[in-house]
């Protein structure tokens, strides 16, 4: 086979991979000022899988997610969702930002935050009907927050706030869920509740992508990992990719030997 033909075959294969993937990123570069936060990243998320995006602080995990969604404008790169643009597929995507990115003193109630997820259905002036309220309550119920529906959001604990954010994404009834550090600073009960809901989504055929920081739970929680430190280090199934060698490359010298030893039981 000639080199040209091999290249053509490669391009064809990549086109097919992108058309099938619920989230495919090619050549993504994002920069704040001079230094790139994300450099020339390719990512192909597997449909119906739960993927963890892993890397040290400042590795560009959240930046990658935000640029993929169009919240940040990348210097370069393309993003496709099942072969189409993000703008075309908005109704199929649900995003859960970092909890700390909003002001929880905002004057609103738990149920109102969840109802924000129904904007796609309601539009500018659509009337809020009982069915909408029922949908929101059902989603609050799934995250165990139904009793808190009329509380002001500032009165909740961090874990409860995170569950409200998750409920808002559930009410969007999306196919692709992107969550930025949903387990950061939450209590054990919340972590259990959230992972239960996410696994339920995965089992229902949805695709879940999570920016994650706790290496010890990766093998329990996820099917695939995506290791990043500004550039892609490795991506694939947890069994083949979540290895000591790849983690050492991702974290450089920052991952202490003791941490590696603690992980060694869980590593693939």
């Amino acid at each position: 086979m000639s080199v040209e033909l091999a290249t053509l075959n490669g391009q064809q294969a990549d086109r097919t991979a992108r058309a099938d993937s619920p989230l495919a990123i090619r050549g993504m570069t994002v920069s704040y000022g001079q230094k790139p936060a994300v450099f020339s990243v390719d990512m192909t998320i597997r449909s119906g899988a739960m993927t963890a995006i892993i890397g040290p602080n400042g590795a560009g995990k959240s930046t990658l997610l935000k640029a993929a969604l169009g919240i940040l404008t990348p210097l370069a790169g393309t993003v496709t969702v099942l072969g189409k643009s993000v703008a075309q597929m908005r109704d199929h995507i649900a995003y859960v930002p970092q909890r700390a990115s909003v002001d929880w003193d905002f004057p609103t109630r738990v149920i109102d935050v969840v109802m924000m997820g129904l904007y796609g259905q309601l539009g500018l002036l659509g009337r809020v009907r009982q069915t909408h309220r029922d949908q929101a309550m059902a989603c609050l119920n799934r995250v165990g927050m139904a009793d808190f529906a009329t509380r002001q959001i500032g009165q909740l604990s961090g874990g409860q706030q995170q569950r409200v954010f998750l409920a808002r994404s559930l009410v969007q009834a999306a196919d692709l869920y992107l969550l930025d550090e949903p387990f950061a600073g939450v209590d054990a009960a919340t972590e259990t509740a959230i992972i239960g809901v996410l696994k339920g989504l995965r089992d229902a055929g949805k695709t879940v992508v999570v920016v994650h920081h706790d290496l010890s739970t990766v093998t329990d929680y996820f099917d695939d990992v995506f290791l990043i430190n500004t550039q892609v280090i490795a991506q694939g199934s947890v069994a083949t990719t979540f290895t000591q060698e790849n983690l050492q490359t991702t974290y450089g010298g920052r991952l202490a030997g003791a941490q590696m030893d603690a992980l060694s039981g869980t590593l693939g």
Binding site: L69, P97, F106, G154
Partner: protein, 303 residues
Amino acid sequence: MSGAEFVPLSLTPMLIGIFVAMACALPGNFLLLRRQALIGDAISHVVLPGIVVAFLLSGAVAALPMLLGAAGAAVIAVAAIEGIRRVGRIEPGAAMGVVFTTMFAGGVLLLEISDTSDVHLDVEHALFGNLESLIWLDAFGWASLLDPEALAGLPVELPRMAATFVLVGAFVALFWRPLKISTFDEGFAQTIGMRTRPLGLALVVVSAIAAVAAFDAVGSIIVIAMFICPPAAARLMTNRLETQVAWSMVFAILAAVTGYVLAGYGPLWMGFDASVSAAGMIATMSGVILAIAAFAGPHRRSV
């Protein structure tokens, strides 16, 4: 007080004060929650030189040239802030403070050296406006409200401020959901397809229109006060945005009415023989309302 005295002398200034207060307080709710509350302050300072230049060029105190002048001044201010921030490597807050006060001071100097003696445009007018002089001489009592001939003599500021309030109200009502969602969580708002940057810009433009329209009638002090005080007091009364906006309207009306009445009659009751500036008293009353809410409001933040 009889209608024959109240309607021609007090009704129109009071109504204008009410519309000014509501038109500024309404977008102020969102500016406050977006931590942009000082934009009202900024706009009302920056517009002064723009309005003076517009007057010098057009030779008349008319709405359209003044609005254009104010808009031009706002653009220059934004460019100057950005320039100072980049060249001087100064934090944005400091750059803003320098630009606003400098432009306002420049406007004051421009006023002093230009001949504006035959129109209502001077330093005092810029600060306090001329609310008390916006009287309705064609009215003879409550019946004049139904008399087309008398209504034709209404001071032009009244329909202008009423229209401004309707415009601001229509903007907030139409974009209520995007304003609420993007103010709370801008990143999420973008992922559901909201164009948050144009919306944020539209909010500032609508606020600027309210500020410029109000500036003409009541001066800058009341504009600054009304963007911040009623919404801030309202926030302490409730934990729901819908209720907060309603309270802010109540407080805006309350400040305008009590401020106007106290300015006109308060000094007389206390034995002085002259009244004080209505704009100054309305702004003071909005501060008093905020102080009361800060001590007694049911939803003060526990620090």
